[in-house]
């Protein structure tokens, strides 16, 4: 087990190097730092001095890959590639284009993100599984059919609609929750409830339907028939046998998103004005702060790879038949 985890973690290294090279290529090769500086300074006739000044201020004034003017190791380390890309491997994100410390920002902003994402994840899992098992219990009836139709309709509506509509109905008309904003500490719950509820509803279509097929797949198997032929009641079959087995694909499927919960939801946070990592990223995109976008791309990839690793491990934990090799 331990050896496997080590091996898998080692396998993640070339992937991360690949991610790093892609971001480096995107941010520095497609457009030279000069182009970026010109873009930031805005005006069409920017003097070369202004560009040079901006580049020095933000640390873009060095060569991309190889510094001829330095000696020894510095030839490789005193470059943009080393300073802006390689440092990401030790989570040294540097400072943003507006001069803020990205690492500090991230560690401060991940808590509001978690406050939204974690309840949404846990309650979502409970709600979707209950919904799916309800449909499966009444399978073949009109309740099942209307449930499936509801799922298709829900997933055909843009998530933006739920957010805008929910904000309008619950905050503006009924004054149940504040429209947007956030407060740290326990007072946060007032700001968290509405985004979580909206997120739960928006995800019902896709997840509810998939979980329903997981249950149906399980219900067609032989052991279920055996259980029925032995005289078990339908709830007994469903909750005693089918639920436990269908949880295997459901749980292993969601493990991959657990690490990425930190990243927050881009649109949800930005609509509700929650100072998490999602709105951080959106603001960075809107302000064209490339340093932040670069850091978030890297962070997102690390978390995703971590999620894949956890998925593999969780398979062995819930299903002893699978051996890691």
């Amino acid at each position: 087990m331990f050896a496997y985890i080590v091996r898998r973690s080692l396998y993640a290294i070339p992937v991360l190097i690949g991610v790093n090279l892609i971001t480096f290529f995107l941010f520095f090769v497609v457009n030279s730092p000069d182009d970026v500086a010109r873009m930031h300074l805005g005006a069409k006739r920017v003097t070369t001095e202004a560009i040079e000044k901006w580049k020095v201020e933000h640390g873009y004034d060095r060569p991309l890959l190889y510094n001829r003017s330095e000696a020894g190791v510095d030839r490789l380390t005193d470059t943009i590639f080393f300073d802006k890309s390689v440092r990401l491997f030790v989570f040294d994100f540097g400072s943003s284009d507006s001069g803020r410390d990205i690492g500090a920002d991230i560690s401060q902003r991940m808590w509001p993100s978690l406050a939204i994402a974690l309840p949404q994840f846990i309650f979502g899992l409970l709600a979707y599984i209950s919904f799916a098992i309800l449909l499966v219990f009444f399978r073949g009836t009109y309740l099942d059919l209307s449930g499936v139709i509801l799922c298709v309709v829900i997933m055909s509506i843009s998530a933006l609609f739920y957010i805008i509509g929910g904000q309008y109905v619950f905050s503006k008309l009924m004054h149940l929750f504040p429209i947007s904003g956030y407060e740290p500490g326990l007072q946060a719950w007032r700001f968290v409830v509405l985004p979580v509820l909206i997120g739960l509803f928006a995800g019902l279509g896709t997840s509810g339907r998939i979980y329903r097929t997981f249950f149906l797949e399980e219900i067609g198997k032989d052991y279920v028939r055996t259980a029925r032929s032995k005289g078990l009641s339908e709830p007994g079959v469903l909750f005693g046998h089918v639920l436990r087995n269908a949880l295997v694909p459901i749980l292993t499927g969601v493990v991959v998103v657990i690490p990425t919960l930190f990243m927050g939801s881009l649109i949800m946070e930005s609509f509700f004005g929650i100072p998490g990592l999602g709105s951080y990223t959106i603001d960075a995109i809107k302000n064209q702060d490339f340093a932040i976008v670069r850091s978030m791309v890297f962070l997102g990839s690390v978390l995703y790879i971590l999620g894949l690793l956890l998925t593999d491990i969780s398979y062995t934990l819930v299903d002893p038949r699978i051996r890691l090799s």
Partner: protein, 471 residues
């Protein structure tokens, strides 16, 4: 009036796609394993109904993909004909006046007066604050308060009659054609259709068609004198914007797939067929791309493209071309983030297929690897490709709206539902609220995505019998 056809990049690709689809349809006609599932698709009532909705959207999208530029009137002493800078499409011609009939600012659906107060001169020549009459919406009425209801009713009735006529003629034609094919008298064929018998649900198809035709006549009659969905902040007709957005949605939903398909199919097949280091390289490639969160990769790429476009304005002749290239690039980058799933599926299936006897036999006879992939593997992977293409479509249409909100979507000058929603977001906070652009955009998008979802369900059930058994 002279005009100059203008073929934008996406136009060319859209029509290439149409040609490919037609070629594929011809190919599938002669191959029973592809034909049979499609036959069972058109036997499902839901699939037929959604297919007609999709066809209506596609027709609008195709008409909107035929662009041209009108010639400017000749100045004296001018040798060459000059053309207008803005590109029009055939759809613009059909939509006629609603493109140009702009009001001053917001007006509600079927409004006769503006939504914002202005200083007006009353009959005595004094300045009072009030809602001015619209320039076009209901302008033909002398007494808007009393005549509005009857006018709208008359127009609805008019369109009902028109639609009824068209549908009657159309149904008669369809019935006659079917009667010939089934070798039945006309009356018997009509009975079969009306009772909903026969393999293909013609009754559903005709009903849905009638609904679409009714909507078309309603829009045609009502929008001639009213702003059916109101106007937006700068007075543009919202209905016009929603209809023009159809093309953008369709282009993103289809061209993305067209772009990613060659990569996904060939890399997936190569990885599964050659195995060894080729497999390792391709797997590494898609794991790496896949591990970057999609939205962030798109955001990064689009930001970089913006920088590039800002620094190289000389590459783009007109605004339309610039917006068009940006749309194409968005499709490209969406394709890059999307191909990994299909590639992995195809790799897995190829791994299974390559062990089968006929592939082994091909190897033993010395058939070249490329030929085996093309002749023996690809046809047997087609069903996976088709399911994925259809399933991806609705997700891509929805993604456009989110991306436009984040600010990395289509060009702000391109008409798209995402841009409409993005602009309308602040209008919800206005007092009194402006809700129509938002609702129109969501409504148009919902219809398309729902039809696509229902259709893709039917396609998946038809091509994947294992799943059908579970339903």
């Amino acid at each position: 009036m002279t005009f100059q056809p203008l073929i934008l990049w996406t136009d060319a690709l859209v029509f290439l796609l149409v040609v490919l689809v037609l070629l594929f349809a011809l190919y599938a006609r002669n191959h029973e394993h592809l034909r049979a599932p499609w036959r069972s698709v058109v036997r499902s009532r839901i699939a037929v109904a959604s297919l007609i909705v999709l066809a209506a959207y596609t027709l609008v999208g195709l008409m909107d993909s035929l662009h041209f530029r009108k010639a400017l009137p000749m100045q004296t002493g001018q040798q060459e004909v000059q053309y207008e800078a803005t590109a029009l499409s055939v759809l613009d011609l059909l939509l006629g006046p609603i493109r140009t009939q702009d009001e001053k600012t917001y007006s509600a659906p079927f409004a006769t007066h503006l939504y914002a107060k202005e200083y007006l001169l009353d009959s005595d020549g004094r300045r009072v604050r009030g809602f001015p009459r619209l320039k076009y919406g209901g302008a033909h009425l002398a007494d808007p308060v009393h005549d509005k209801g009857p006018d709208i009713r008359a127009r609805v009735l008019h369109s009902l009659v028109q639609a009824l006529l068209v549908v009657a003629v159309l149904s008669l034609l369809v019935t006659a054609a079917l009667a010939r094919r089934w070798r039945q008298p006309l009356a018997t064929a009509a009975q079969t259709i009306l009772r909903g018998r026969g393999a293909v649900p013609w009754r559903t198809a005709l009903l849905m068609l009638a609904l679409v035709i009714l909507l078309v006549t309603l829009i045609a009659n009502l929008s001639a004198a009213w702003h059916v969905f109101g106007t937006d902040k700068v007075g543009k007709d919202v209905l016009y914007q929603s209809i023009k957005s159809i093309r953008t949605g369709l282009v993103i939903g289809t061209l993305t797939t067209l772009i990613m398909l060659p990569f996904a199919v060939f890399l997936g097949m190569m990885a599964g067929y050659f195995r060894g280091w080729v497999d390792d390289v391709i797997q590494y490639l898609y794991t790496t791309l896949n591990s970057i969160p999609g939205v962030l990769l798109i955001a990064a790429a689009v930001l970089m493209m913006q920088v590039y476009m800002a620094n190289h304005p000389e590459l783009f002749e007109t605004m339309a071309e610039r917006a068009d290239l940006r749309l194409l690039f968005l499709c490209l980058i969406l394709g890059i983030t999307n191909w990994t799933g299909l590639c992995r599926l195809l790799r897995g299936e190829t791994l299974k297929l390559r062990e089968l006897d006929y592939v082994q036999a091909g190897n033993a006879f010395g058939v070249s690897n490329f030929r085996i992939m093309l002749r023996h593997l690809l046809p047997n992977l087609m069903h996976i490709v088709m399911i994925t293409v259809v399933l991806d479509f609705s997700g891509l249409v929805l993604a456009e709206a989110v991306l436009s909100y984040v600010g990395v979507g289509v060009d702000p000058t391109t008409l798209s539902w995402g841009n409409m929603i993005n602009r309308a977001r602040l209008e919800m906070a206005r007092e009194p609220m402006v809700w129509w652009s938002l609702l129109a955009a969501f409504g148009f998008m919902f219809t398309l995505v729902l039809a696509a979802n229902l259709f893709s369900d039917a396609v998946r059930d038809a091509f994947d019998p294992r799943l059908r058994a579970q339903r």
